[in-house]
């Protein structure tokens, strides 16, 4: 059973189409990065998955309809919808008491263990903690819940790089195993590249790229081309070109690496570079470019 399965997922707010027929399938044990520009439909898609918003189309999360079976689903699904949604009046000890009191799969000792590695005091109120510590606290609570799906919507927005790195390292080392599934959205795509198993780009309510990271690495190639080879490289149909220090960097989809190696320095692109390439093409010629990048 796939963890999340959607077919023809649609959602409109008045005249604005937030989700325009999204099909997606996320298997158990994957870490999916859902990447898209602001207003692309990421949060709408996650809200549908979490049963927070109604939708049209078919959607099953852990085999359940999230809109009608939300309460039951929330025992197996956990989410951090944003940074700083913990109420400011809440004390750390109260947060532990409360979650232990209402969540059948919460392991308080585990949460205490995570907190012991931080500088967070039991007696502090959330309003007294720094933004980074609030994120640590929320993560400690969530990681102590034995959930099967964890959804993270911009969980590190506004945190400094040390907290961001620690956040994802902790998640990967102390939480993730192959029976769990994680879906994460973020604008800091480079920082999560190494933890993802799957990648999905969403733009204007449509999935414009859906591939595993293995596929991503074998499919896309970036070449830093010497000026004398530029014309030859352009003839091979790059999907994107940018200039850095006077040299051209060309991005290819399903190109022959051997052939490219002759033209310059070959490497696997960063997710951000591919994102700019795919979204840039979208902006120029939305309909045709979609065909090119979509799976």
């Amino acid at each position: 059973m796939p963890c999340i399965e959607a077919r023809g997922l649609r959602k409109a707010y008045g005249n604005t189409i937030a989700l325009d027929g999204v099909d997606l399938k996320v298997d158990e044990g994957r870490i999916l990065g859902l990447i898209g520009p602001n207003g692309a439909g990421k949060t709408t898609a996650l809200n549908a998955i979490l049963g927070l918003a109604p939708y049209q189309g078919e959607l099953k999360v852990l085999g359940r309809d999230p809109w009608t079976e939300r309460e039951r689903l929330m025992r197996d699904v956990c989410f951090i919808a944003d940074v700083a949604v913990l109420p400011r009046w809440l004390r750390v000890s109260q947060a532990l008491d409360y979650v232990a009191g209402v969540h059948p799969r919460f392991d308080r000792a585990r949460a205490e263990g995570f907190l012991a590695k931080t500088a967070i005091k039991r007696k502090s109120r959330v309003r007294e903690l720094s933004k980074g510590m609030v994120a640590q606290l929320h993560l400690a609570l969530v990681m102590a819940i034995d959930a099967r799906l964890l959804v993270l919507d911009e969980p590190t927005l506004g945190l400094d790089i040390l907290y961001r790195k620690q956040f994802y390292d902790t998640l990967l080392n102390d939480y993730f195993d192959n029976s769990r599934t994680i879906v994460v959205t973020t604008h800091q795509v480079e920082e999560i590249q190494h933890i993802l198993t799957d990648l999905m780009f969403i733009n204007r309510g449509r999935i414009v790229l859906d591939c595993s990271m293995e596929e991503f690495e074998s499919r896309y190639t970036e070449v830093m081309v010497l000026p004398e080879h530029a014309a030859a490289a352009r003839a091979l149909n790059p999907i994107h070109e940018r200039q850095v220090f006077g040299r051209s960097i060309l991005l290819f989809d399903r190109a022959d690496r051997q052939q490219l190696a002759a033209l310059g320095e070959v490497r696997t692109p960063g997710i951000a570079d591919l994102f700019v390439a795919v979204m840039g093409n979208q902006a120029g010629a939305p309909e045709t470019a979609t065909q090119g990048a979509a799976k």
Binding site: M1, P2, D27, E28, G29, N47, L50, L52, A53, P54, R70, E71, M74, R75, C78, F79, I80, A81, D82, A84, V85, L86, P87, R88, W89, L90, R91, Q94, D97, Y98, V99, A100, G101, V102, H103, P104, R105, F106, D107, H138, V142, D146, R148, D177, N178, S179, T197
Partner: protein, 305 residues
């Protein structure tokens, strides 16, 4: 990636530990953590009443001497004015606190976005909203009761000491104003008041779950508008009378008020049968239930932010 322990998709996951939970209990506790001040307000008022009473206690011995001259039927009433009435500011405070609690209960969690945290836990919207209903309906009346009875007891003890110091026997305070039975009267009054005001609390909870801002205005202005509209359009004031009846009717329906000038009450003045058979109570409760159901529906089916 770790390949040895790959879970086979399609197989049921191994059983995982499930610990017993009490969502309702913890939801009510959660409300008390957030709104701890709702218990402090009646306490503060009790402190003020006690302070004022102490100032007035200088003439207490003279007052009691006057009471002793009255016939026994009026002695109880006179003492009720001294001790029973002291509970009224506490009851009023708890009603005001309840109103403001209700106006914020479902609004605050959306304003500070913490609803996204609460909704990430397996606590149903029914449980959450009902936990919030228990605050004005049960917790606040109980707090008011305890605070008022303790305050009255302290007043009686202080009075007894002052009377003894002035050479007056304090027994009359305890026999003509029996605190045990008078606290039963208070409890009855608080319970009937909470039931009578249930539609007000329900309405305020619904508005707090619906309005994006200015919950107080949304709660108060529509009824006022309806009353003004009725007055201008039809020249009548049925709606205004209905509102007045709702605000003031609890005492009239729940107690026997034989002499409008004698407002002191004791056990003999309770009339639970009339209260329970009054149409006003049941229409009010039906309206409250509808409002609460609508508030639950809104929290469940409207997008949280």
């Amino acid at each position: 990636m770790n390949t040895e322990s790959t879970g086979t998709p399609g197989l049921a996951p191994e059983p995982r530990p499930i610990t017993a939970t009490h969502p309702m209990l913890w939801s009510v506790k959660r409300e008390l953590w957030e709104n701890f001040s709702i218990t402090l307000a009646p306490l503060t008022v009790a402190g003020l009443v006690l302070f004022a009473f102490l100032i007035s206690a200088m003439q207490l011995a003279d007052k009691i001497r006057d009471v002793l001259l009255l016939d026994p039927a009026k002695q109880a009433a006179a003492l009720d004015k001294m001790f029973g009435f002291a509970a009224i500011p506490i009851i009023l405070t708890s009603v005001i606190v309840a109103v403001f609690y209700c106006l914020d209960a479902l609004h605050g969690e959306r304003r500070d976005r913490s609803i996204l945290f609460w909704k990430s836990l397996p606590v149903s919207d029914v449980t959450t909203v009902l936990a919030k209903v228990t605050i004005p309906m049960a917790v606040l009346p109980l707090v008011a009761f305890v605070v008022a009875v303790v305050m009255q007891f302290v007043m009686l003890v202080l009075s007894s000491m002052i009377l003894m110091a002035n050479g007056v026997a304090p027994g009359i305070l305890w026999t003509q104003w029996p605190i045990l039975s008078q606290s039963l009267v208070l409890l009855y009054g608080l319970v009937t008041l909470a039931l009578w005001y249930a539609p007000i609390y329900g309405w305020m909870l619904l508005v707090s779950g619906w309005a994006r801002r200015a919950t107080f205005l949304w709660a108060v202005l529509p009824p006022v508008a309806v009353a003004i509209f009725e007055k201008i359009a039809f020249g009548t004031a049925y709606f205004a009378a209905l509102m007045k009846y709702r605000l003031q009717g609890s005492f009239k329906e729940a107690f026997i008020v034989d002499d409008p000038h004698l407002v002191s009450v004791d056990l003999a003045h309770l009339d639970p049968v009339r209260f329970l058979s009054s149409t006003g109570l049941w229409t009010g409760l039906a309206f409250a239930a509808a409002c609460i159901a609508a508030a639950i529906w809104l929290r469940r089916y409207r997008e949280p932010l």
